[in-house]
């Protein structure tokens, strides 16, 4: 078990280092002069060449790629995300403010996704091929096909413009959360429904179930003790990917509804070539991703120890 944990953690470290290096390289080699971009973001007007040169030194751009990378990475290892190269303020508190908007949105979206998809998938799989099943599959395909920005606009048109029930823009009250969360949640519900449905149907087709029935095991117990764990495995696998979708979706939804949060934080930072800010978001997302997938891996091994045996 310790060996498994160690190898999983080693994998996590490799992934994190790769993510850090890749984003740094991407930003570094992006077209245009980074120092000029920072200067423009800082002073909002054309600046003399010597100021740009000064910024170049200050931001460590003149030192070369590896030195700059090291200069950024070493404080990060102690938990210091550094200062914004535009405003000079600490990145960490700003990032926390952005997250305080994005995390509730993502969680609300996930909650809506789960509360919609689980009953829908259970109803649909009660009888595969029934009208209810076809309805659920159709709804799920539709939900997966509609892009978030279009769905968001439709919801705004209906609930904010036509009916006037809900606010569309900003994040002042908790009512402001409803429409963005719904936009995000419907997309999550669509993909979760499809995965749950196929997972349940596959689990119900397993060859040992008829024998259990003949042994007199109650249908309820078969569902709970034998179908559910098998259905959970593919669902868990996709859940890790779903997290990426959730983050990505949250960023887009925030832009549509003009909500503050990680979305605007990131867009602004990229435009200004604010390396420390962009890096902070990427590292945070990577850590989240790695941790969630690590947890999923462990749950996985608990459910089906054969997975661990194959690795060893």
């Amino acid at each position: 078990m310790i060996r498994v944990l160690a190898s999983l953690c080693l994998r996590a470290v490799v992934v994190l280092t790769g993510a850090a290096l890749a984003t740094f390289a991407l930003l570094w080699h992006a077209p245009g002069d980074p120092a000029l971009a920072i200067a423009l973001a800082r002073y909002d007007s054309l600046v003399p060449a010597d100021v740009v040169d000064q910024i170049r030194v200050e931001a460590g751009i003149d030192a070369g790629f590896w030195t700059a990378f090291q200069a950024w990475l070493s404080p990060l290892l102690t938990g210091d995300f550094g200062q914004s190269s535009v405003t000079g303020r600490d990145v960490w508190p700003e990032l926390m403010t952005a997250l305080s908007y994005t995390v509730p949105l993502a969680l609300a979206g996930l909650l809506i996704g789960i509360t919609l998809s689980v009953p829908l998938a259970l109803l649909a799989t009660r009888k595969a091929g029934s009208w209810l099943d076809r309805f659920a599959v159709g709804l799920a395909s539709l939900g997966a096909a509609i892009p978030a920005y279009w769905l968001g606009l439709l919801l705004i048109l209906l609930f904010a413009v036509q009916l006037g029930w809900l606010p569309a823009m900003g994040a002042r009250t908790s009512a402001h959360l409803i429409l963005p969360a719904l936009t995000l949640g419907l997309g999550v519900a669509a993909s979760l429904t499809r995965i749950l449905r196929s997972g349940i149907l596959e689990a119900r087709g397993q060859s040992f179930l008829p024998a259990l029935r003949r042994r007199g095991v109650a249908a309820r117990d078969i569902e709970r003790h034998h179908v559910a764990p098998h259905a959970a495995i593919p669902v868990l696998t996709v859940f890790g990917l779903e997290l990426a979708f959730l983050l990505e979706g949250a960023v887009i939804v925030e832009v549509i509804f003009a909500r503050p949060g990680l979305g605007s934080f990131l867009v602004d930072a990229i435009e200004a070539r604010d390396f420390p800010k962009v890096q902070a978001v990427v590292i945070l997302a990577a850590v989240l991703f790695v941790v969630v997938n690590l947890l999923i891996d462990l749950v996985y091994r608990g459910l089906d120890p054969r997975i661990g045996e194959r690795d060893a």
């Binding site: 040992f208 024998a211 003949r214 042994r215 095991v217 117990d221 003790h225 034998h226 098998h230 054969r306």
Partner: protein, 227 residues
């Protein structure tokens, strides 16, 4: 208790694959249900189990392979407890120990999942589980085809010994007359969804009456084949 089921039949996609059939098996009797593949013997076996269970008679089933009997994600202890619960029985370590000893799996670690045991041990665990409720009838579906010969022979011998002085009747469903002939006293021969011959084993072997029985008898032994 005599086992008694009438009017067993089955259809698949509009075609009758089992014509109305009656089955009577005496207490403690060993019966073989033999026929070529597609003759309907497995269908009859399943229909018999379902009907008897609906009538409230105690009948247990051992599928062809342990893969068709055990959930790979659940421990063997879980399977055992579940089987006891399904029969409405309380956990009884004495009964469990007795069955495990009879089938020589007393050394197995029950906390493991099925694939932690060898296939032969899994199959014997499934048989032990089928015998928990001392059923009136035990239906075995091709019990040897998923196992290596040495393991299969050992398993059949252990089961024979266990059933010797008990009331549980045995129905052996198989395509292999050679196997059935060594294990049962009465043979039911199936062809095209019907039992075409039902007689004591020695009678079927020495004087088969129907085409199906003749074919099975002629191909019973590897070393004396018709040319």
């Amino acid at each position: 208790m005599t086992i008694w089921a009438t009017g067993l039949s089955a259809e698949r996609s509009g075609r009758t694959i089992l014509h109305s059939t009656d089955v009577v098996i005496r207490s403690g009797e060993r019966v073989g249900l033999v026929g070529a593949s597609g003759s309907g013997k497995s269908t009859l076996g399943h229909a018999l189990i379902d009907t008897l269970q609906a009538q409230g008679q105690s009948v247990a089933h051992v599928p062809q392979s342990p893969d068709e009997a055990l959930d790979p994600l659940r421990s063997l202890a879980f399977h055992w407890a579940e089987a006891e619960r399904a029969l409405g029985m309380k956990p009884d370590p004495t009964r469990q120990a007795e069955l495990f000893t009879a089938l020589r799996i007393e050394g197995g670690n029950l906390r493991k999942r099925p694939w932690g045991w060898s296939r032969g041990m899994q199959q014997r665990f499934v048989i032990a589980m089928a015998l928990i409720g001392a059923p009136d009838l035990l239906v075995m579906d091709e019990p040897t085809s998923a196992l290596d010969p040495i393991v299969a022979a050992g398993t059949m011998d252990l089961l024979d010994r266990y059933l010797q002085d008990r009331q549980t009747a045995l129905l052996l469903v198989t395509h292999d007359l050679g196997l059935a002939a060594r294990r049962v006293s009465r043979l039911m021969v199936m062809e095209d969804g019907r039992i075409v011959e039902d007689a004591p084993t020695h009678q079927v072997l020495s004087a088969p009456e129907t085409r199906a029985a003749k074919s099975l008898c002629a191909h019973r032994n590897w070393l004396e084949l018709p040319c």
